[in-house]
């Protein structure tokens, strides 16, 4: 047995240090490699003939393909927000406040975050699985062997699709959530149109929409870049691809929630 790797003979403090150092070094390595991927993406920008048609195709798949589920989820989110707000506040505050609570919670939080988490599962998993499978079946090697840049052919189209389409989807989600929330509020707590609109406008700031779009843009980057990176680095066959897919989705979701908190702290 190689004495360097045999930990049984090492003192406990050394083993403890190794146990801490290994994941830390692994994390730092991933940060470095992720940075290299970002650099490759910037270098690939001039190769617009390669990425542009592919980006259009990805936009169709991300945007049009996700529209139904995003709108459906936002609708349910708006309905639940309306019902719970009605349960909590009816009788205690003027009804027009509910218009503000429902619309602001959708625009500031539920719209972008639920859309982001949904797309982390839908397109994040897909990208990680696609790229991971391409990696372990040597398709990425084949692309490179043909003198083609994987960054411009595979990564950039997917990431651009996320950056363009996720904000658009969030805007659709916000609109749907507010409309459905309005309709549910009318039927469950019998708020009038006038009260709802007055409340929504009373506490609305134009920056709220920018905030929603900024969050959407950040989440669009997260749900594409992280899965693309993890999938691209997949190893060890089907098990490796499965692991990469799970890691991509979980990591994207965690980062979305972290960013959600950070952006709230910084921008609000």
């Amino acid at each position: 047995m190689d004495p360097v790797t045999s930990t049984a003979e090492l003192p406990v403090p050394v083993n403890a240090a190794r146990a801490v150092a290994k994941p830390v070094l692994g994390a730092l390595e991933n940060v470095g490699r992720f940075g290299m991927m970002l650099l490759e993406l910037l270098r690939a920008l001039p190769e617009w003939r390669a990425w542009l048609p592919r980006a259009v195709e990805q936009c169709q798949q991300v945007g049009y393909g996700s529209l139904f589920i995003v709108v459906a989820t936002a609708g349910f989110a708006g309905a639940v927000a309306s019902l719970q707000a009605g349960y909590q506040f009816t009788g205690n505050i003027p009804k027009y406040i509910l218009g503000a609570v429902i619309s602001e919670s959708i625009i500031l939080e539920l719209g972008p975050v639920m859309t982001g988490l949904l797309l982390a599962g839908r397109i994040g998993a897909r990208y990680a699985a696609e790229l991971g499978t391409m990696r372990v079946t040597e398709q990425v090697d084949a692309l490179e062997s043909l003198g083609r840049n994987p960054a411009s052919h595979l990564l950039l189209p997917r990431i651009l699709a996320g950056l363009l389409m996720v904000p658009a989807l969030v805007v659709c989600a916000d609109a749907t959530g507010i409309v459905v929330g309005w309709l549910v509020a009318k039927s469950s707590i019998h708020i009038t149109n006038t009260d709802f609109v007055y409340g929504a406008q009373r506490f609305f700031r134009s920056f709220d929409l920018w905030y929603s779009v900024i969050k959407a843009e950040a989440f669009g980057a997260v749900v594409t870049m992280i899965p693309c990176y993890v999938g691209f680095e997949a190893k060890e066959g089907a098990e490796g691809v499965g692991r990469a897919t799970t890691t991509a989705v979980v990591s994207a979701c965690v980062v979305i929630l972290l960013l959600d908190m950070l952006l709230a702290k910084i921008l609000l």
Binding site: D2, T5, T133, M134, T137, E138, Q139, D141, A142, L143, E144, S145, L146, G147, R148, N149
Partner: protein, 240 residues
Amino acid sequence: MFGRHVVLDGVDFSVADGQTVALLGPSGSGKSVLLKHIIGLMRPDQGQVLVDGASVPDLSRKALAALRGRIGYAFQTGALFDSMSVYENIRLGITDEANYRDQEFCRERVSECLRLVNLGEDVARLMPAELSGGMRKRVGIARAIAGRPTYLLYDEPTSGLDPVNADAMDALIERLQSELHATSVVVSHDVRGSFRVADRIALLHNGRIRAVGTAEEFMAAKDSVVREFLERDVQLAAEA
């Protein structure tokens, strides 16, 4: 090295212009790894990889892309792009950008490549998932030759094929040699096929080239590792 695992350890290997060299060795001996070093998909920890006098690991991106345009690499399983049809896969092998954008040129070149690998034109509209293993390998070769490469690298072209199709693949490689005159390296563990297609044979063993020579020199070799490798193949042929 992969982690602490040494795969290639002091390989000294050269291929002259126009030659076909078969690189033999047991599974896991590093044959495919060596091939990937030639095209720059892997970088050596030490030593040199020279193609046309240029050190491959030291090439700029542009120069490496240009070199890859002159090398056709046929992967073991074909490595076809699942989301593209056979036509689009082969078309992607046309490495000259001007030709790649010329639709008429691409149609003609793809037809020609399919003919060269003995596949009908109707295969062009199929997706990789609809192809058999042998057809996938052929389409992989068609893609590798689409750019009229100066060099051809074959990674286990007959592995996974039945004897009839393996023979047909060897015949295809011979035919491509006579039509394209490309300098070729064929990685294989198929001794008989290698003897058929190659001008010289090299045996990779324990990370090094153990022996290099013509088929006749190989058959007459006294080296124990070479004899064991040859005798194992003869034994398998007898059992078949």
